[in-house]
């Protein structure tokens, strides 16, 4: 069964008297444990689409199922709970909590969202610290580590709750090329290790090639789907 099923979804924004259609009837499916990229130029609708999949916004029209849940009908609280249980986020600016250490940032979703018992928390955080190779830096605060390290912490934080899906909006935009590749590699490794679906958006053509499934978006429309090994679907 598909992890994400989007059917003819549209998203309109109201700017004064003008209605702007950011997404124009997108339909697609994404299978579990996929490594997916949405590519397209700035303003094409990638971020909007990721926000819809991440239940941060609701489509104006269409149908969207995430992890077998019709996310259109979740209220504010249900939305928060759903995100906390099923979705991990990786942000372009890392968005780590500055007053928490690396360890505490990774621990945060377990502690404040899922109320996981202390022993289990410790075991999961330490496992992820090891997986992203940040054990040595665990007591440092975000302003004491590099951009690449921050993104590794963000990946660990996104994975710590064992979500079905991790969404990363331009996760490499603020990183140099070498670090960007390392981050994408780490994401793939995490997918292999934990079986989590990773969806990331990018406009960096070199990074795009790292994805196994690539959706191309232009002007709010899905222009194509490319699976590793060829095959383009419109």
């Amino acid at each position: 069964m598909s992890l994400i099923v989007a059917a003819n979804i549209t998203k309109d924004y109201q700017t004064g008297d003008v209605t702007v259609r950011a997404l124009k009837g997108l339909s697609f499916e994404i299978e579990p444990a996929s490594f997916v990229s949405f590519v397209g130029p700035s303003g094409s609708g990638k971020t909007t689409l990721l926000n819809l999949i991440g239940c941060l916004e609701k489509p104006t029209d269409g149908k969207l199922m995430v992890a077998a849940t019709d996310v259109l009908h979740l209220d504010r609280k249900q939305n928060a709970s759903f995100r906390g249980s099923n979705i991990g986020f990786i942000f372009q600016d890392f968005n780590l909590i500055p007053v928490l250490t690396v360890y505490e940032n990774i621990e945060y979703p377990l502690l404040m969202v899922q109320n996981t018992p202390a022993a289990e928390r410790k075991q999961r955080v330490n496992a992820l610290l090891k997986a992203v190779d940040m054990t040595d830096q665990k007591d440092k605060f975000p302003d004491q580590i590099s951009g690449g390290q921050k993104q590794r912490v963000a990946i660990a934080r996104a994975l710590v709750t064992n979500p079905k899906l991790v969404l990363a909006d331009e996760p490499t935009a603020n990183l140099d090329h070498k670090t960007a590749y390392m981050v994408i590699e780490l994401m793939r490794k995490m997918r292999d290790e934990f079986g989590t679906t990773f969806i990331f958006s990018t406009h960096d053509q070199k990074i795009v090639g790292e994805a196994e499934i690539i959706f191309t978006i232009e002007d709010g429309e899905l222009k194509g789907k490319e699976s590793k090994g060829g095959g383009v679907n419109g």
């Binding site: 926000n51 991440g54 941060l56 916004e57 504010r76 609280k77 928060a80 709970s81 759903f82 995100r83 906390g84 249980s85 979705i87 991990g88 986020f89 942000f91 600016d93 968005n95 909590i97 500055p98 007053v99 928490l100 945060y108 979703p109 502690l111 404040m112 969202v113 899922q114 934080r157 996104a158 709750t161």
Partner: protein
Amino acid sequence: MGNLFKIATRNLLRYKRRTLLTASLIAIGVVFVLVFISVSGSFKNMMIGEITDSMIGHLQVHRKGYVASIETLPLNLNLKAGAVARLESILEKQPEIEAYSPRIKFGGMFSNFTETSSIRLTAVYPEKEFRTTPFLPLRVVEGSNELKQGKILIPELLARGMKVKVGDTAVIVATNQDGSVNGKQFIVAGILKSVTGPGGRDGYLHMDDAREILRMEGNEISEFAIRLKDFGKLHGFSEKLEGLLSNELNQQGKPIFELHTWEKLSPFFNVARMIDVMTFFIKLMLIAIVLTSIMNVMIMAVYERIREIGTIAAIGTLPGKILNMFLIEGFCLGVFGAITGTIAGILIVFIVNLSKITFNFGQQVGLILRANVNPVDILFISATVIVVSVVASLQPAFKASRMEPIKALRHV
């Protein structure tokens, strides 16, 4: 909950200067209130103690209508022997009463054989009076406080004005109820320090001497001064005694007695009330300071952390938890301000007491300002500051909790 406190504390420490400034503002407010309450409260209690323990007693019982004419000390409104006996029988049965003292009050002329002046006199049974007003013996600045028959205690101002010393002979002349005049020679046993309030410049003599001068045959009494074991139970007891006395009726079926607490007998009560009103307004000012400073700082905190709020909301933090996060931040700021303010306030009160600052009030000169910090006041002020801090954080915290994660994440 512990983690919310950890995050709140760290967020406060993140903006050290602002936190320190806000906490200092709250602390200064707490210091002002604490010192004012301590000094004014101690002054009030000291004055009430002086007035009740050296003259008035905690409450007084008179014949109905006496207090309305108290300035003229009317002998015709004295309680007659029968009423006195009935009243004493009631008072004896009250376990709340520490002591009571019957008094005859009258006006007369005081002569040292060369000069004559008017004098207000209170006739007492010394033992009963000293138990009812224990500060009275302490007011004797010269001579002895032994008030035997033929001896008189005269007020300081009169002694100074008429150059009368302890051991001198003087004559008291008074008019009795029938209008005839009588006099009696006395030895000045002691000189009393004047105090502010009714009766503060009265002379004292023995009850039997007063009866002799006034040619009273029966056991007539102008007033009964009463001292309670616990001053805090004054109003409760007053109501109880009032109920008992209202059952005592004369032949016309009207009440014989009237009861007044010290508050209705001393003008200082108005000063005390004024102090209470001022204290209330000072507390209101503290609330305003805390409310505005905490609200300001919390609004700033929410505004500066919009993207952070968006992040934690996006990763699934429930709105209630975000609300608590900011409420606890306001709470911690209030607690910090209250603790530092209380410590500073106690320190200042301690210094005030060490300095032994003196002041004059009415007839009393050189009173030493003694400020006492009441633990109940500390608790009340601290609780007020903390509650107001949380209330002030409510609006910003609510705003943070209601923020749409996507809008917050887009915030620049």
